[in-house]
């Protein structure tokens, strides 16, 4: 969540409500169950950590206290690092999905290239696991665990194919 919000701010400074709406749009039906307060709590944490600054209060008469957040240089560095990191074996689909959406929106990176980088990394890991699978004799219980790891990697790779298909069509994807 922290990283996704930071990456969204890379496009332009925004207030919490705007970020919440963008998150919900990116997540679709899965975003509807999101706790409204979570965005504000996270923003406060990011501010305390020096990753965002509260720029100014928006002059809307009905919400005079609305804060506009912007990335600090440290926040920008964290966004760049996040974009290139591969977080398997605990892949967080929503996080990667938001990474692609934020990268496209702010033109930080080509989502298709992010998918390619992730795929190369997962393929290398699959290569290693698959070699270990082949080295196990039939019916070995240790082989079962390796089989499970290989199947998960395969599922992730297929999902990345789907990501590539859609993002290469959408271009900068509204």
């Amino acid at each position: 969540m922290q990283d996704a919000l930071l990456a969204m701010l890379a496009k332009e400074p925004s207030h919490g409500y705007g970020l919440r709406m963008r998150l919900r749009r990116a997540l679709g039906p899965l975003g509807e169950s999101m706790n409204a307060g979570q965005v504000y709590v996270t923003l406060a944490r990011l501010e305390k950590a020096g990753l965002v600054v509260c720029e100014r209060a928006d002059g809307l008469p009905d919400r005079p206290d609305r804060k506009v957040y912007a990335l600090t240089p440290a926040g920008q560095r964290r966004v760049s690092a996040w974009l290139t990191e591969v977080n398997w074996p605990k892949p967080n689909l929503a996080e990667f999905h938001l990474k692609l959406a934020a990268a496209a929106a702010a033109r930080l990176a080509d989502p298709v290239e992010l998918v390619d980088a992730q795929r190369r990394e997962l393929l290398r890991r699959l290569a290693e696991v698959q070699r270990a699978v082949l080295a196990e004799p039939d019916g070995s219980t240790a082989g079962l665990l390796l089989e499970g790891v290989a199947l998960r990697l395969q599922a992730d790779l297929r999902w990345l194919d789907a990501c590539e298909r859609v993002w290469s069509r959408t271009g900068d994807g509204a």
């Binding site: 074996p89 393929l123 890991r125 290569a127 290693e128 699978v133 039939d138 990697l153 297929r158």
Partner: protein, 246 residues
Amino acid sequence: MNESGCVLQVRGLCKEHGEGQGLVRAVDEVDLDVPAGQTLAVMGPSGCGKSTLLHLMGGLERPTRGEVRLAGRRIDTLSERALARLRRRSVGFVFQSFHLVEELSAAENVELPALLAGCSPRAARRRAASLLERFGLADGARRLPWQLSGGQRQRVAIARAIANEPLVLLADEPTGNLDTAATLDVLRLFGELRAAGQTLVIVTHDERVASTADRLISMRDGAFVDDTRLAGHGPGRLGGMLGLGD
């Protein structure tokens, strides 16, 4: 072999079907070098041109433009007769649906290429027997293809494909009709061939099959979009992949 050390060299390779509005470039300006002993996987969605590429490299189809060299020798310009001879002697093919001769036993299927290449029946028989033994198929040697499991049939097909010690083995979706256990058997067999120095090109849409190669090329709309080395990537990270926390 030629001075480049490459078994296969492809330059500017194009294969077009249809014409005018209906023109399709199944293979679109592809360049490729396959060094001796390499196992190369070509992956991509169906219709991306990967099978056509394999057929062009094995002389089963002729390119619209471009060159294919096998051990330094151009094959795209050969006469039909010379091409047929080359396919029999220098290239081994493995297909998804096995393509065994249904009327012949496993052993007879494996003897066939040697006989066609002019070997004596006796030498062909000896060679087939030793291959079937090596592939764990000695017991099924006298059976007809339909009496064998899918995995056994594909192993017979691989034995047949390498019977004449081809320069390159070309496999088109070799595990496409096989269950998980039979797939692992075929992959283990490919692993043995690779260890013995066989050059191997596998076309597949299965990530797990592709991941056993030294090198993986991804294909889309007739062109290569990625070329990744899979072998020899530093120390093993298997432990880190289990995701066991502290």
